[in-house]
């Protein structure tokens, strides 16, 4: 089980890092997601891997550590929110620059104030 677990974490992290280094926003977002999956599994394994253990002392013969499970839950929630945000942001970037390259347009001019007529809009992280 340890070997399979380690291989899964390794391949998730490998694919995540590879995709984050790509030049288009969609692979980057997918890469960040894979990276956070890998990290969550890794965090889960820090309480040692076991089968049939319960996080309550005395209820079973083996005891599994509840704290990493709590940490993973927190990390999943935060990672999910951040991924949602980065998806919206990359869509916005695609709409603003007309290109899904992470640097905007490749032969990039400094975006001038050509949209100054635009009404103030809400841009929040919520």
């Amino acid at each position: 089980m340890e070997l399979a677990f380690a291989l899964i974490i390794g391949s998730l992290t490998f694919s995540g890092v590879y995709l984050v280094l790509r030049a288009r926003t969609f692979p980057v977002v997918v890469g960040l997601t894979l990276l956070s999956y890998g990290v969550n599994l890794f965090l889960f394994s820090t309480g040692r891997l076991m089968t049939g253990g319960q996080p309550i002392i005395g209820s079973t013969d083996t005891y599994s550590d509840p704290l990493p499970q709590a940490l993973v839950l927190t990390a999943i929630v935060i990672g999910f929110a951040m991924t949602a945000f980065v998806v919206v942001l990359s869509l916005r970037s695609r709409a603003d620059t007309g290109d899904d390259h992470v640097d905007g347009n490749i032969p990039r001019e400094e975006p001038e104030d050509h949209q100054s007529i635009e009404q103030p809009r809400e841009e929040t992280g919520q």
Partner: protein
Amino acid sequence: MNHWLTAPVLIPLIGGFLQVFMGYAPLSLRRTLGLATTGLLLVSTVILLMLADDGSYRAYAFGNWAPPFGIVLVLDRLAALMLFITALLALFCHLFSLGRTDVSSRQFHALFLFQLMGLNIAFLTGDLFNLFVAFEVLLIASYGLLLHGEGTARTVPSLHYVVLNLAGSALFLISVGMIYSVTGTLNMADLARIIPELGAADLPLVEAGGMILLVVFALKAALLPLTFWLPRAYASATAPVAALFAVMTKVGVYAIIRVYTLLFGENAGALANLGMDWVFPLALLTMIVGVIGMMGSGGLRTMVAWQVVVSVGTILAAFSLVSKEGLSSALFYMVHTTWVAAGLFLVVDLIAGQRGSAGDKIVTAPRMRNRTFISVMFMLGAVSAAGLPPLSGFFAKLLIMSAAVPGLQMAALWAVILFAGFLSLVAYSRAGSIVFWRNVDGHIDQPERLNFPHTVGAGALVAMSVVIVFGAGPLSDYTDAAAEQLRDTSAYTSILDTAMVGEDE
């Protein structure tokens, strides 16, 4: 248990929630409540500063769960100092945002207050995982603030900033997991107790975890190889946000100071002073790259953003001397540089507002309406940031240089600090003389007028460099005491014995 410790977290939290639900209330009401919240926050941090000055550690255990199991807030001199720096900075930035930045979006005040809450949790927390949560809270608010404003110029820098910080968060979780897998705890006091007693077989994992943690904090602090995200992100943010971000890099610096004195400090046994031999040369290189960036920047905002990089290098160079004097001078410099760099961001925004389409670019333009007043503020900020007497930067750099012990380290530190000071002076004089003196004929359509909140916000932060000079004695006494307290890690672990409510106090 001292309930005052929750005030810097609860005040912006409640204020921020009020703002969220008042999105459609009149702007003047939202402003009044927002400013009242930041004002109240400042008052509470002053109280905490006075509480902390007796040199003891105070802990607040959430839900009355005893420390190694529950989450604690811990107040000591360093935490109180950081809270105070942030609250004062926030009040003037908030004042500056009135009438310009806060008009374009209904959520500005809420985001601003949530950002403050995240900062305050990061400074107060006594738990490594809680520090991660605090980082995420302040980051998600900072994403919103960075994007804040009209136009499309901010989207791409924001995207870079967000992706970079998400990768940083993944690294943070990995390092936290590595440390937990060996020590079985993430409470900082408990870690400080356990790490010196680790067996040889467990050391490599904790050491690797500690080094990855250093990478994460260095990314937040913008230490050299991880520095290049900063100038573009900060230069594209609106002025009050950029000024508030002056303290964001300091959160990374704070985390480095906290973790690498408490967990991997001098008392950490086999892992004593982990990573400090890396931080010192990198900090010096950061300063050099920072001044090169200042010399090469085409706009005043970019120049001040590089100034932030230089100041991070200076603080970390002083900290990595690993002595009480070095630590104390690093804290003194941190107080000075946070306020002055933020003040410069605000002054630059006043300059840009009066130069029409020339904006903050370092080019000739028609004469500004309030040239004399703004140029005096710019000069005060520049002189202080470059470290010339008689302003606070001079005293801060003097303390850092006198903290170095003779030897190779001293030679390198003195050379780089003096060289960086000289070059930043050149950069400021070049920019200042072009912007203020070389005027061309013509006039600017509708230059912005100075108004009371903007003048006070920018002026007060720059004037803090004069205030620090007059208060230099008490301030350096305080930073000395804070450095002394930080190096005594056994006192920190005593918070594990804090009596809970219901036990015998």
